[in-house]
Symmetry: C2
Subunit: 333 residues, 2 copies
DNA sequence: ATGAAAGCGCTAACAT
DNA sequence: ATGTTAGCGCTTTCAT
């Protein structure tokens, strides 16, 4: 910048003004500065600019478990779309349920002075963010309920969604309904299990712990279903509480030729669900909506809103496509 | 930082040393500084640090067309995984085939002094990056061939993949094969069409322009297929040169009840392809591999490699799953 | 309308 | 082993 000023024969400040499109510089000088900048291939340094200004960096960070999961990818896309108008750019990273990684990345992003954080927490407690928030750092928790931290968040009604799925299966005559979720240390997994329990209780069905499974990957879920079906008393229906679990179940049932025999409802959309045979019934969330709401909340904080923190709980939609409407064939019901 | 130094009763430099884990500070002082930092809730400012060091910002940017597309999401994930070891964070954004957005975002990221750029270009020419690269900025083009720019890139062999798909269909008796791709202004779309042409020519089949379509979205592709099938001389096979086009075709064929009548091969994997009925035959790329190779190339540049720029052309794999092996039923063949 | 000087938070180079 | 000084690239006073 100094070189540009020298070449243009003006002061540093004038160059600064031109670069920032500030008013009150004669056109002659603007031209002179611009051509000097061009000649010297001058590139404005936002870091230095922000340093002096002490202002926003116009960047935010999104931390999710797995960026290649459809849900998270849709979230990222929606967030990017929402903040783009304001010229805000977004960092993102995958946590893979590792709390350590979350802490490390958050520290990194804070050192980079991002304006805000959108977090799908891997950590059991986000209390460590309290002091950051007190210092003016904006945080919105997505997909999961914040723990030990008073902040904005956006989730879906997991208990209600799971209840809805389970009740739907019960209404179709099922009494042995398997539940396959993510690790139960995870908030959403527990909430969905609670919804499942609730539905069973409301129908006066007993809870059979041998029907409750965790499976983190598609392959693990597939293996679980295969195992379940080989048991002496297999379920007549399955509720998969995660998109990867649903994919695994679809795959396993198909391999076993049971896709039209065993009922299946999944939580969270999977691609092509309506084109499979049978179509896969899903309790759908709207990741685009979640992302937009979260980004909007973050932006409001950045705009200085001091409102009380609040959570948004979005509804889910049960999409009946066939697999969830299969009736039990065995006479044990 | 000054406050921390004051509270700890040491100099600025000592604090700096402690913060950066540099050697040669007595343990007593380390403790004193750390507790002072804690007390004052000191947060290191990486921007200021980078400013002085004139070093790398340990950040890179990935620009793709649509972050919610499976391919791009897998790319992002692979890149994040690859650079994480080096403590590098990644910005990402969607371009939606808008060249303007690409230019604007690139300028933004350069102002932020990202160390490198991974770009799936929307622009017809990337000549504008020449001067940046001359100034030491690292660029790797992914998925598409760079235009007017000598740089590293990673692509798959689109011509060969499309040829393979088309040849496969021809080998199964098809002579009227529709081609549905992205807009043909796009590099990969053209390359895939060329592969399609090549295969037709090699089989002495004439090219019928009425079988060539562009469709950017799933819905558009679905509409195209519906229209095609309603024509007087419908094709007996379809080659969809993009994952969204494949999804649209699957959907339309199914609605028409033609999924077991009309052959279909898609370029680029779609989820659940093997679980559909029939399974969808795909010319698969490996987005994980593409991302890893691209990130590796970028890292090598950041490590100062001055090697001649070069391109990596990865192979594709034809996965025969059923839909591509359907034979024509009409007797026009 | 333009410029000079001071300083944002940090670290490299040189002391001590 | 620790401190001092200067300066990274920029913008904010406060002049002129």
């Amino acid at each position: 910048m100094r070189d540009v000023a020298a070449l243009a024969g003006v002061s540093l400040k004038t160059v600064s003004r031109v670069v920032n499109n500030e008013e009150g510089v004669s056109e002659i000088l603007v031209d002179r500065v611009q051509s000097a900048a061009e000649k010297l291939r001058y590139r404005h340094n936002l870091a230095a600019s922000n340093l002096r200004r002490g202002q926003r960096t116009k960047s935010v960070a999104l931390l999710v478990q797995d960026l290649s999961n459809d849900f998270s990818a849709a979230l990222l896309r929606a967030i990017d779309d929402t903040v783009r108008d304001r010229d805000v750019v977004v960092f993102s990273a995958s946590l893979d349920e590792e709390a350590d990684r979350e802490r490390k990345l958050v520290a990194n992003f804070i050192a980079r002075r991002v304006d805000g954080l959108l977090l799908m927490p891997a950590s059991p407690s986000q209390a460590y963010l309290q002091s950051e928030m007190a210092a003016g750092f904006a945080v919105v928790i997505v997909d999961r309920i914040p723990h030990d931290l008073s902040t904005d968040y956006v989730v879906v009604d997991n208990v209600e969604g799971a209840n809805k799925a389970t009740t739907h299966l019960i209404a179709h005559g099922h009494r042995r309904i398997a539940f396959i979720s993510d690790d139960l240390t995870i908030d959403t997994a527990r909430a969905r299990r609670d919804g499942y329990y609730q539905a069973l209780r409301d129908a006066d069905l007993s809870i059979d712990e041998t029907l409750i499974y965790s499976a983190r990957t598609v392959e693990a879920a597939s293996a679980v279903v295969t195992e379940l079906m080989a048991s002496a008393t297999p379920p007549t229906a399955i509720f998969t509480a995660r998109n990867t679990a649903t994919m695994g179940a679809v795959s396993a049932l198909r391999k076993l030729g049971l896709q039209n025999t065993i009922a299946l409802i999944g939580f969270d959309e999977i691609r092509m669900a309506d084109l499979l045979d049978p179509g896969i019934s899903i309790v759908a969330q709207d990741p685009g909506r979640i992302g937009r709401e979260a980004a909007r909340m973050l932006i409001e904080r950045l705009d200085g809103s001091q409102d009380h923190h609040h959570g948004i709980i979005l509804p889910t939609t049960l999409l009946a496509r066939g697999s969830g409407e299969i009736r039990p064939t065995s006479n044990e019901a």
